[in-house]
Symmetry: C2
Subunit: 596 residues, 2 copies
């Protein structure tokens, strides 16, 4: 019932035809990313996901994690799977060979990570946090820090954790109270951190905590916060493990989902203070953190895709097996499999098309991370960097909301069986819910989009993006008759995006609450247009291949049908979302608080 | 954190100004339903809900039910609460005094039931099922059956259960295999039933099971199915309990939510066959069942309202307490309560306005049940009956989808805390999910609406309903300037409903899959227009009171603001939904099955 098979054919199609992996592979340093290697790596990743990781997903949910004497015991199979992951070199795919990485494209790593997210999202979190911590040290740490910590974090021998949240400081990190007092070449850290993913576990020998804390006499607010490395075990000069640091997991949270992932309460400095090493400069902690947080946001967006793909696969299999009532168009006597009922098909296509749009957006954003890192031309690097910044809140928010919705539809397709935990569909619905919350709630993403990403530069990046969409609009409108519907809806979508962007820019200075209050709608509008654009790009490529008699004809036709469905169910809502964005928030601030 | 306070002021407003309870109270037989009595009853129900029931909600979720030796032990406080419910006469409110009921309006009972659903939805299910079973016997049973079973079911001394589903027969009841063999004045029933809510529990002495089963030599399909009464304990002539019947609970389901409600696997006839008494005639089982199922569907729609109200209250309280970051419009120094952030306010208003729309629809539908039962004029009774039939799938589906969405937003308002089970927000999200599935999945509701309720009579009832909306449109457009936005959007909504209804009628005969595949969108369009209509009716009443200087001015202004928000966020989507309905399903049946 809860099998998973990595959708390699669709991933390849998305990489090749939508994300243009070939262009990425042509960037300097990516010479190894040949089509054959990509194929081989995806196949191997698929095997690992299908055969090793996917079967542990239920264990994690049912057994959770157990805290005993400060040690967190993960669910059956988690440690063994992690061992294989490390040995298989899966953690190092996109890291710099200078520190032991394989130097492959971020885009390829994204496709691989999708598999871990589908196979066992809770398990996969440890690697996401490790990558985030590694990136922060690579970007802001000293060479010694990189050698001491990053090499083993990249190989997968050690994991990392990000220690930001405190009870009074969630979205508002300015409110952090944890303290760091300088003592020679290090600091002594004390305080409590909550919601720390993989803060403690039994899968590896050492855990490298990145911690935000406040130095004495530092200014209040964000400028007083610094970032520190606090390893679980101190690291000797020869790389061997030394003393246990004064940081411990004191409790595990009892959560709605991702029960396989240990969400820890971490206590720093119960004795002498945890030893921590400054990363970057004092007072720059939040800035250092945000370097990695953008990529972590994309990683969470990808979790939305992963969980949605798994929920879709499960619902699809059930719908092909379950027999109930005769379908309207059935020519058989007797009842039909439920996939033949129109409303069930609508649900499945709604899942499938949204998963594919989300996948396309995640992979596409990844290609621009690669360009931003590797392109020879500085202007191109900067443009890609800006595009990633623009797309990050869109991908994070829409993909994770989509993950929740698709998981919910997955339950619905199962009918009553979906509500029974043994079926497994309910786990996806519970697991998916966190993605809209962590790494910046989706509301914060929407505010980030309208504020930092669009209004701040007077819409320059967004307008450039719209111009890029207009170029494709011309191509699409010149395509054959089978694209008439798609083309018309796409034009309406871009028009809506342009119109709402103008309104946003005009309105934000004088009435920022109107913009902020409707920002999720603007974000969703931008997501539909972006997802539609990328799916349509794939559909045109599919049409071309069909005309040339290349490829798997049924699969390619399916791509065109799925794209048409996505446009006529979702992208066509762009204008309506635009209206809600511009006209819907007028009463929000007028309502007196005591009337809520 | 998980407190609940029955929203009496809003319930009264909805009853008085939107549902016109006074008109209902003027129907023959409802003379007792004076405003004072209604007020007193709601206050008492509120007390029971707030103080007795609400505190048991968490117990039910955490402890669930335990099956030992065929006995199901409910969670702490469930039995005691049920005892008080029975003794308080809460079960008998709207039943016929002939059988011990209080003969009060269904509309009032609906408001009261909302409280139970908010306070403890899982606990409240037993009463919903009991009412359904009672109605079926009252409508189709013999006088002796009514006296023997209904009196004690109405008083609340005994409960009822509905035994329909079998593993192969979920939505498709034609596939039922349970057998009933005639033996003198009774039948012997054997077979397995699954998903039986309150099929076994320890709250009362006897449980009256209504069972669908197939008689030997009966024709295949639905015409071979009959309905039987199979009490847990046989009832002696003097009303005392006799032998244990041959029906037992053999397992409890492990579910995503409503863990306080025992969902039983029931085994009939493991020994000699369970003794059952035919209700109505052989072969008429499904028809008898559907009499009660329509009302059960409305009851489930009301569960959506109840759970949404509770989720809203919890999120609202959190948003008023939690302090994070300075709000855009804050004139204070330092961080603000999160209710002052525009996006959080949008979420709260989205919850509040949808709850109020759902409440209005549920109460309004109930008034037409009262009219259908009690109005002196047969034509009016029939018209009300038809309107209830039309509204039932809309209320069931939209209100339950809304309950899920609102519970999900409730988590989001809490941020990370929402994902922690102790907070309680997650329970609502898990509990709410079942409502879209049971008593006919929401997909089945949508197909019921387009097929049985609109297409079958050539749109007569729907067109009559639209004409009723048009009358209000005229009133609304003549209202003051503060209603301009609402009025314009309402007109667009009715136009969309009319246009899509025409399209539905034209298309259904030749392309029924197009209609069925898009039916959920048509249903949601109808729901937005209906919810908008009722809220706007309330807003006009509020405006009138304000002009007259009557009532609580802040509350009344809040009603107008909430209505405006609902229109400019939801009703304005009607045209877009109409487009998706008419144009969105073209590719659904074209996609080859193996491309899913």
């Amino acid at each position: 019932m809860t099998n998973y098979t990595a959708p390699i054919e669709d991933m390849r199609f998305t990489l090749d035809e939508i994300a243009n992996l070939n262009d990425v592979a042509a960037l300097p340093g990516f010479e190894d990313a040949t089509p054959d290697l990509v194929e081989a790596i995806l196949e191997e990743a698929g095997k690992f996901g299908n055969e090793v990781l996917a079967p542990t997903n239920r264990n994690g949910d049912e057994q959770g994690n157990v805290l005993e004497n400060g040690v967190v015991r993960t669910a059956n199979g988690f440690k063994e799977a992690y061992q294989q992951y490390w040995e298989g070199g899966w953690n190092s795919v996109m890291f710099d060979p200078e520190y032991g990485g394989q130097g492959l494209p971020w885009t390829l790593a994204t496709a691989i990570d999708e598999i871990w997210n589908s196979a066992n999202m809770a398990w996969g979190l440890t690697a996401i946090l490790t990558k985030g911590a590694t990136e922060a040290i690579l970007a802001h740490g000293t060479e010694e820090q990189k050698r001491t910590y990053c090499e083993k974090m990249i190989s997968g021998e050690w994991t990392g954790s990000m220690n930001l949240t405190e009870p009074q400081a969630g979205s508002d990190l300015a409110a952090i109270r944890a303290k760091a007092v300088k003592e020679g070449d290090h600091y002594r850290i004390s305080g409590q951190k909550i919601f720390i993913t993989s803060g403690e576990h039994d899968m590896v020998e050492n855990i490298i905590h990145l911690v935000l804390a406040r130095t004495p006499d530092a200014p209040p607010g964000v400028k007083g916060i610094s970032l520190f490395i606090a390893p679980k075990f101190m690291v000797n000069e020869d790389g061997s493990l030394g003393d246990r640091n004064d940081v411990r997991c004191t409790a595990l949270e009892h959560k709605l989902g991702i029960n396989g992932s240990p969400t820890c309460v971490m206590s720093y400095g119960d004795n002498d203070g945890a030893i921590g090493y400054l990363v970057g400069q004092e007072g720059m902690g939040l800035m250092c953190m945000f370097t990695m947080m953008n990529n972590a946001r994309l990683a969470v967006g990808l979790q939305g895709v992963g969980i949605a793909e798994r929920a879709y696969q499960q619902a699809r299999e059930y719908a092909k097996e379950r027999v109930q009532s005769k379908a309207i168009s059935s020519s058989e006597t007797g009842p039909s499999t439920i996939i033949n009922h129109a409303d069930v098909r609508r649900m499945l296509l709604s899942m499938k098309s949204q998963v594919e749009a989300g996948r396309a957006m995640s992979y596409f954003a990844a290609t621009h991370i690669d360009r931003a890192h590797k392109h020879e031309d500085e202007k191109t690097r900067m443009a890609s960097n800006a595009l990633v910044a623009l797309l990050t809140p869109i991908v994070k928010s829409w993909n994770t909301d989509m993950g929740i919705e698709v998981a919910s539809i997955g339950i619905q397709v199962h009918g009553g069986m979906g509500f029974i935990e043994e079926t497994g569909a309910a786990q996806h619905y519970r697991d998916a819910r966190i993605n809209a919350i962590y790494e910046g709630t989706n509301g914060i993403q929407a505010n980030d989009l309208v504020g930092r990403k669009v209004a701040r530069d007077g819409g320059t990046i967004m307008k450039g993006y719209i111009a890029q969409l207009r170029e494709f609009e011309a191509t699409l409108s010149a395509a054959g008759d089978e694209f008439t519907t798609v083309s018309k809806i796409f034009t309406r979508g871009i028009n809506a995006l342009e119109k709402t962007t103008e309104w946003l820019l005009e309105t934000n200075a004088d009435a920022p609450n109107l913009v902020a209050g409707g920002s999720v709608h603007y974000l969703n509008l931008a997501a539909y247009v972006t997802g539609g654009w990328l799916l349509a790009k794939g559909a045109l490529a599919a049409q071309e291949k069909l005309s040339a008699g290349e490829g798997n004809a049924e699969f390619l036709k399916g791509k065109i049908l799925t794209t048409t469905f996505f446009f006529s169910q979702f992208v066509c809502q762009a204008e309506s979302l635009g209206e809600v964005f511009m006209d819907g928030s007028g009463t929000i601030m007028e309502m007196p608080e005591d009337q809520f």
